[in-house]
Every structure is written in structure tokens, then in C-alpha cells.
Amino acid sequence: MANWTVTSKKMLSEVMSAETWLPTEMPEYAQGFMYMLGSLTASSFVVLVISGVLLAMNGPDTWSYNSAMRFVAATHFWAVQAFFFFMMLHLWRVFFTGAWRGGRGATWLLGAIAFLIAIPTAFTGFLINGDLYSQWNAVQAKDGLNALGMGWVNLTNAGQMFGMHVVVLPLVLTGVIGLHIIRVRTKSVVPPYPTAPKEGEAQQ
């Protein structure tokens, strides 16, 4: 059996290397707007975290009586829209370019998991907002969760939803996005398909 320490050391050296995170050259095919979509999604996540920290520091209902906090709530709202918008564009780009090729299946899978976790992360945020939309969606969505045997996730408990939205889900999401980005950096972005399928290639 391989030496676990040696393996870990090798992996960490690559992951923590400035070469990995601060590249000075990129493949010629990875240029232009299509190759900004992942970074735009990650940037939206950064804006979400910053605005979210401001909201958490001041209290989740301060937007209702403080105009500055209402503006911060607005930035959090539009940042989540940007996050999903760029994530969807990114998803289409990586799908149409078959981005799982060349040993990049795990990168794709981690991205898909990030998408899945992002949904309840956003949803719990809507729930703690306290307006009609939160009220309605808490009582509507509870039936689905209850039916799936997930009644311990009590959508009508604002305290639990606050914890989920501010700590549990963002931590998990940050971890998954982090692993996804590590994979993207260490495996690089997928090279193009060879120009034309060779005779009989599809059957092979």
C-alpha cells in the first residue's frame, strides 16, 4: 500500500502551490467570455458571502426598518440571481464542450453537487427574509420535506433556517465549490474535441 503521508504531501504540494493558483499562461482554446463564466459564478459567490456577512452581523430582519440594510439585502438578492445566472451559463458551456473528458468526471460531478446544494442554500435564505414569499414557501415546501421523511428540517422554524442558511449550507457549498475549483486548476480545462470524428470512431 502506498505511503499515505507521501501521497498527501504530493497532493497538498500541488494544491497549495502558487503555480496552481497563479498561472501565467493558459491553453489557447480557453479564452474569451465563455471562459469567464466559472469565474463570474465564483465572483458572485464572493459578493454573496460579503453581503451575507453584513446581513448576519446586523440581524436578518434589519432590512425591514433600516434603509442601509435594505440596500445590503438588495445586493444579496441580486448577487444570488447573478450566481445562478452565471452558473447556468457555465453549466451549458461545460456541457456543450463535454468538459468531463480527459479524466475530468469528478470536476463535473463536484460542480453538479454544488448546484444541488446551492438550491436549498438559496431557499433557506428566502425563508428567513420574513416577507410573504418566505411565509408562503415555508408552509408550501414543508409538505414535500415531511413526505420524504425529512421532517426534522423544519422550514417554519426561522432559527433553524437561519443556521442552515448562514452556517451549515454555505460551509458545505464553500467546501464543494472549493474542491471543484481545485480540480479545475489541477486538471486544467478540457481541451477541444478533435476536429472531425474519424471513420467508425463513434462505435469504438
Binding site: Q31, G32, A42, S43, V46, F96, G144, T156
Partner: protein, 325 residues
């Protein structure tokens, strides 16, 4: 050739300023978000409160309160995780979880709040005592009669008035509930927890309003599941959770929405869609689809233009990361 190795092997590396790239995307997002926030603000629709609902719909409020009291309400007979009812049990998994957020609609929604209110308004006390001391058969008779009477109820001088009848203490109790609701104090009675002073859990407040008040409100019609629910905003013109389009679409399928467990089914089928997406790299056919769709030719137009003839695939590629920067 294995789909995994269906990649060009020969390409150049070009200079890149990655830090500038990252800062640029961050600035783009920050500017767009700040501009949208300044221009459009944030969509916050006034919530439905017990005070606003009881004031606007006093008769319907008393009808709802009576359904909570007589066990006919949605939560009164819901089932796990709230109680041992059966009306909203959609699956065996739901029953397995058990009653972990206990709610007794009659006690928690009506009788306890009234008991607290009676400390301020002692006139409530005799009616409350009479109701609580009556047999359940007697309570049921009053409730059946008063349900019929409330259908003809009218709101006059601050109370709901019905035709005369044998309703026991119910008219007093429900008018006291109405007064409590209109005062704005009922929310406090519903969300209180005698063991702790923090008020994180607004479950009973939301469950109290979740039936007729929210279901029948004009402002929620656009948000109903069969109307593509959650992807609609509470305030028209704003985006909402449009990323939920697929599960919301599934909810429109007749066999889903008409099933005994529509919510569980929509979520479960939605999960299968996600699973297909997540496992695309390993699903034969689907994992080759992009190559034949040809969109990649547009995305890599410049690359293909510069390299009209590709080198044949290499015989062996280990990990495909040779060119990783």
C-alpha cells in the same frame, strides 16, 4: 476511442494574467449587483399577519379558528411530524419520522392563547372553563352547530354575529380569539416557548395561517404550485427562484399533481433529473452527445480556425493533465 480520451493533444499555451482575470470578474459582478440594487431595490411583499387577516376577514378568521378547535383544520389532522393525524401523510417515511414538532391545534392555536388573554380580560374565563369542562361529545355538538351558524355569520360592531342557537361558549370564545387576533398579540402567544426567552421558532404562527388565509389570499394565487409556484416572484416583474423550473415543471405533470403524494413525487423526480445531470460523464450516449451537437465548434471557433487539421489522438494519455497550467 474512449470518451475520456476524446480530446485534442496539441495546443499552445498563451500568456495570461490570472489575477487580473479574477479581479475583472469580481468587479463586473459587483458593479452589476450594485447597479441592480440601486435601480430596482429588493422585492419584499408585505407578509400576511394574524392581525391583518383577522381585521380584514373576521368571519373567515373565526371559521378558521373553529376548524383548529374542532380538529377539522389542515394542521389539526396533519400527521407527522406535527401530530398523529392522517390527512397529510404522503408516505411511510413521513410516519417513520414520528411526531417531532408536536402541535395540538386546538390547545396550541386557540385554548392556550385564550387562557393567556383571560388574564387581561377575565370575561373570557367563564366561557373557557365551560368549554374545557364539557365532554368531547358536547364540544363536538357545539362545534357542528356553530360551523353551520358561522356560514351565515356577519361582522357587526367588532364581533361576529350569527343566528341564535345552542352553541355553548363558542361565540364568546371565538369572538375573544378574534379580538386577540386583531390586537396583534396572538403572534406572541403562538410563538412563545416557556422554557426559553429567545423566539427563533415561528412554526405555530405560520401553521396557524397556512390553510385558508394563505391559500385563498389573492396575493398568493400566482405562487400556488399548480401555477408554477416558486419560480414566480411575490412582486411581479422581479426574478424569483427560476432555478427551480424543472421541479416546478414536474409538479405540473397530471400524474404528479393528482397523486396522493404530489410534493414528494415532484421532489423525487426532480432529484432523478439532477442525478442524470450529475452522472452525465458516465452515461453512454449522453456523454458523447456534445460532440455531435456541434456547439463546441462555435465555442472553439478560433481554435479550430487556427488548427484546421488535428493531430490524430495520441495512443496513450495518462490523466490528460499534461498541459495543465
Amino acid at each position: 476511442m474512449k470518451v475520456q480520451n476524446d480530446v485534442v493533444k496539441s495546443y499552445r499555451m498563451v500568456p495570461e494574467d490570472f489575477v487580473k482575470h479574477l479581479l475583472s470578474t469580481l468587479v463586473i459582478v459587483a458593479v452589476v449587483v450594485l447597479a441592480a440594487s440601486a435601480l430596482f431595490g429588493v422585492p419584499e411583499k408585505q407578509p400576511m399577519t394574524i392581525k391583518s387577516y383577522s381585521t380584514a376577514h373576521p368571519v373567515a378568521f373565526e371559521q378558521m379558528a373553529l376548524r383548529a378547535l374542532d380538529g377539522q383544520g389542515q394542521i389539526a389532522d396533519y400527521g407527522p411530524p406535527y401530530n398523529n393525524g392522517t390527512a397529510s401523510v404522503q408516505s411511510p417515511m413521513q410516519s417513520l419520522v414520528g411526531v417531532i414538532h408536536p402541535v395540538n391545534a386546538a390547545t396550541d392555536f386557540i385554548l392556550k392563547p385564550l387562557s393567556m388573554a383571560s388574564a387581561i380580560n377575565p370575561a373570557i374565563k367563564p366561557a373557557l372553563t365551560q368549554f374545557e369542562k364539557a365532554s368531547s361529545a358536547q364540544q363536538a355538538r357545539w362545534e357542528t352547530r356553530y360551523t353551520a351558524a358561522l356560514a351565515k355569520g356577519v361582522y357587526r360592531n367588532g364581533v361576529v354575529v350569527t343566528p341564535q342557537g345552542q352553541y355553548g361558549p363558542l361565540p364568546s370564545l371565538l369572538n375573544a380569539t378574534l379580538a386577540l387576533g386583531k390586537s396583534g398579540l396572538m403572534s406572541g402567544a403562538l410563538t412563545r416557548n416557556g422554557a426559553v426567552t429567545t423566539r427563533f421558532d415561528n412554526q405555530n404562527y405560520l401553521l396557524f395561517l397556512q390553510g385558508a388565509p394563505l391559500q385563498n389570499a389573492p396575493q398568493t394565487q400566482n405562487l400556488q404550485g399548480p401555477n408554477w409556484g416558486i419560480i414566480h416572484p411575490a412582486i411581479n416583474g422581479y426574478p424569483a427562484a427560476w432555478w427551480m423550473t424543472v421541479p416546478t415543471w414536474i409538479y405540473q405533470w397530471p400524474f404528479v399533481v393528482n397523486s396522493a403524494a404530489p410534493d414528494a413525487m415532484a421532489l423525487a423526480i426532480g432529484f432523478l433529473f439532477w442525478l442524470t445531470l450529475a452522472l452525465t460523464p458516465w452515461i453512454p450516449g449522453l456523454n458523447r452527445l456534445p460532440r455531435y451537437l456541434g456547439i463546441h465548434r462555435l465555442i472553439w471557433k478560433n481554435f479550430y480556425k487556427n488548427q484546421p487539421v488535428d493531430t490524430p489522438p495520441a495512443k496513450v494519455e495518462k490523466g490528460g493533465a499534461q498541459h495543465a497550467s
